[in-house]
Amino acid sequence: MRQGADTGAAVIVIGGGVTGLSAAWWLAREGIDVLVLEAGVIGWGASGRNGGGCSHHHSPLFLEEQRLWPQLDALLGYPTEFQPNRIRIALDERQFQLYRRALENGEHQGFRSEVLDAKQIRELVPYAPEAPYGGYFYHFGGHANPHRTVQAYAWALQDHGARLLQHTAVVDIRLQAGRATHVCTNAGEFACDQLVIAAGAATAPLAARIGVHVPLASARAEMIVTEPLAPMRIGGVDGNGLYGRQTLRGNLAYGGGPHEWVEYEDSQRIRAHSTVLQGSIARRLCQLFPKVAHARVIRSWAGFIENTPDGRPILERLSDPQNVTIATLSSVGFGLSPASGRAIRDLVLEGTCRFADLSTVRLARFAHLEADWQARQGWLPVSA
């Protein structure tokens, strides 16, 4: 078989989403020879199709996520539009109770939050209702611009000498003596010492090529975007069942609501389209920000998202083949990407993560997963 443009790299990362790009950047910063292979265009999957939130207090990567985001622009040398802090507004008692958990989880890890009453909410969030039930000011987390962040990683890794090939689809991975030695693509073959598979939903079929079963299912979710409005002092405001933010430009970008399970093959051949769900998102956004109910919705988007059976990431250096690291963040990957990339760097170079306990995100927890887990969980496409 034809060799690739270059013969290979010390580390090949399959997948040009935030996780793979961040991993490649962390490796390249240390002078490691890295090659990223992206089947399409970088950030075209879930990395470019999310609300931009950076507040994942349930994750073992949370502390590192919080530590890195405020300095990420400086580290990368390019803007991510990161903005710190988050306000969450509850319109009823149930939401108020649900949103309390972020306060508790934050507190458990040393982060401060405040409970907000209606008056405080009105002062902080000019578009909020007159009489919201209550809310929280989390002095952690925040939000960033996913597209800008994807590109920042891509530029930064190239600044450090790493290479990125787009429109380069992996068709096979070759094994030799218990190691992945070559990645075969539509643009030739690339040799590698270490391999990272961070390819979103495609992680499952790619892992299957080397005999590793990664249980994943894909779903479609939607968001809407309004015309720009006068920026609120804190743009990281959500709640009422929605996630999202007011962008620095002033657009309201919000999503939420039910997802649609899709066949992996369909998600590869059909672009993710938004549907009439945008009416239900708009309804809740009007409730959250009734004072801008006249704002125009000017676009929407949809994206395909991969999920593991329990919704938790898989972040693991395999034992067989022992030079392969598998990474899926299971539908919550964007905000964690500065930390997940660093964790992958550790796994690749040192075999273990130095800064976080990854024992709860190992593949082994699915050892006794039922073959029909998708059916049992109802995670199947709606049939016509």
Binding site: R148, L248, A282, R296, L369, D372, V382
Partner: protein
Amino acid sequence: MSLSGENGYAPDPASVAGKAPPIHAQTDLLVIGAGPAGIAAALAAAEHGVQVTLVDEHPVPLRTMGEEVPLHFGGRMAASLANRNAVLESVLQSHPQLAEASDAGIDVRLGTAVWGLFPQRPTTQWLTGHVAGLADEEQAYLLRFKQVIVAAGRRDMGLAFEGWQLPGVMGASAAYQLACTYEGLQARTAVLLGSSDEALLIGNALQDAGVQIAAIVEQADAAVGATHLLERLSSRGARLFTSHVVQQALGDADGVAAVRLARVDADGRRVAEQFVSLDCDALLLGVAAIPAIELLEASGCAVRFESARGGHVPALDAAQRTSIPFIYAVGDCAGIWSRKSQATAIAAREGVIAGRAAVRALGAPIAPSPADAPVVPDTPARDIAAERVAWVRAAVLHAPSDQMICQCEEVSAAEILTLRPPRYLGWGKDLGRHGSAVSAPPGPHPDVVKRLTRAGMGACQGRRCREQITALLALGAGCALDALPLATYRVPVRPLRLDQLAGLPEVPAMAEHWDSWFGMASQWVPFWRAAGEYTAAARSSNEPVASE
């Protein structure tokens, strides 16, 4: 519809299964656009007893026109347009066949825009049938359909120059609509940019409607349109300026008051100190007529660049059917070429073909007839992709100063070419040196450029800058315009008020699970309490879940 529970397991309660919105109105055939093609399609189908709904967005609310939607109206709406009843009367008069359509039993809805088509197909299977999102001035609502024929017409390619944000700089088609459909164009003397047949036809129609066409401006060294159309305008006083572009639009309190033209050489560079100034109160952008494909592209129809059809158009079969078999395209949105622009009969023939094909698809047998003979576009006489690039090169790239391409987001040509982050980020440096990161052969991806610079992301939904940006990127990358991918379109394809969209009805089940993301308790359990092994059987359910 059946849910995924036939295996004995319930569908995921946090998913869309079983939550499709109630839809109270339905039709067999939806026809979008009541121009010659749309009306012909509706009548051809109604003739065979099919239930037809024909919608047209005219009259467009004045406020929407002010937002440069659906066309670049340039603020030249006459005061008379504030009288909605009078406007409706004008629209009816300009579409004499609408009365015929109503008499034929067609449900005609004017002032109704279609902001989205939502086919029920893999990945969007939760809907109950194919659904269209409609909106009139007051409310948005859903209409179920079996077949849809899109006859959405055309819009105008924008072109930046000094002063192009002034009132009075407007699309040629926009001027035509205001003058001929609304009888309310506020302009007396216009200068027309572009000399294609499409531009010259509009120039003549406007002249007939009482607007003096003072000049025709063409960047090439000869007019590109038909001599008889040009002569008809010249004989009534229009001067032709070939090898010229706009140097500047000069304004006063009422917008454009004059235009200054500059001579350009064969490479589109300005020849020093050769200017012509003309008085006018409208500058008509007629450099390219663009098929209005947004609804089709956003719904998933395959689109490709076809020179013979005037640019990006849906891929069509002989029956005007797109890649989604129950969606058809007819009229200008299916392709623009000279003969078709000159004779509405061709658009009408397309309408009849699609109308008859839709009737067959609905199960009514119709015997084949000569009316089914496919419409084939003429071989293009010119390279329209190169022509559009030449306009942008001469008018924008070689302008004496950096031009504002995207008026909504205030992004200039240089900012687009260097991928500079938007100004509100206060990020001084150019980032263009890494163009390779966004480029994959053959050149930069317009969608990526859009996301990084925000050009085309504004309230007019890119209507005024989309084609210019692509031409600029082609120039920057040194590749052909038609080699670059098309930036995607998104619903709603018309700006839609949040509270209008919010008024769409829901089923009660839709209210559940908004705070749970995928509804999995295990996903959000903090890592210090996470369980070990996981099986679907032992998963926890029915507990409150909050996502983060």
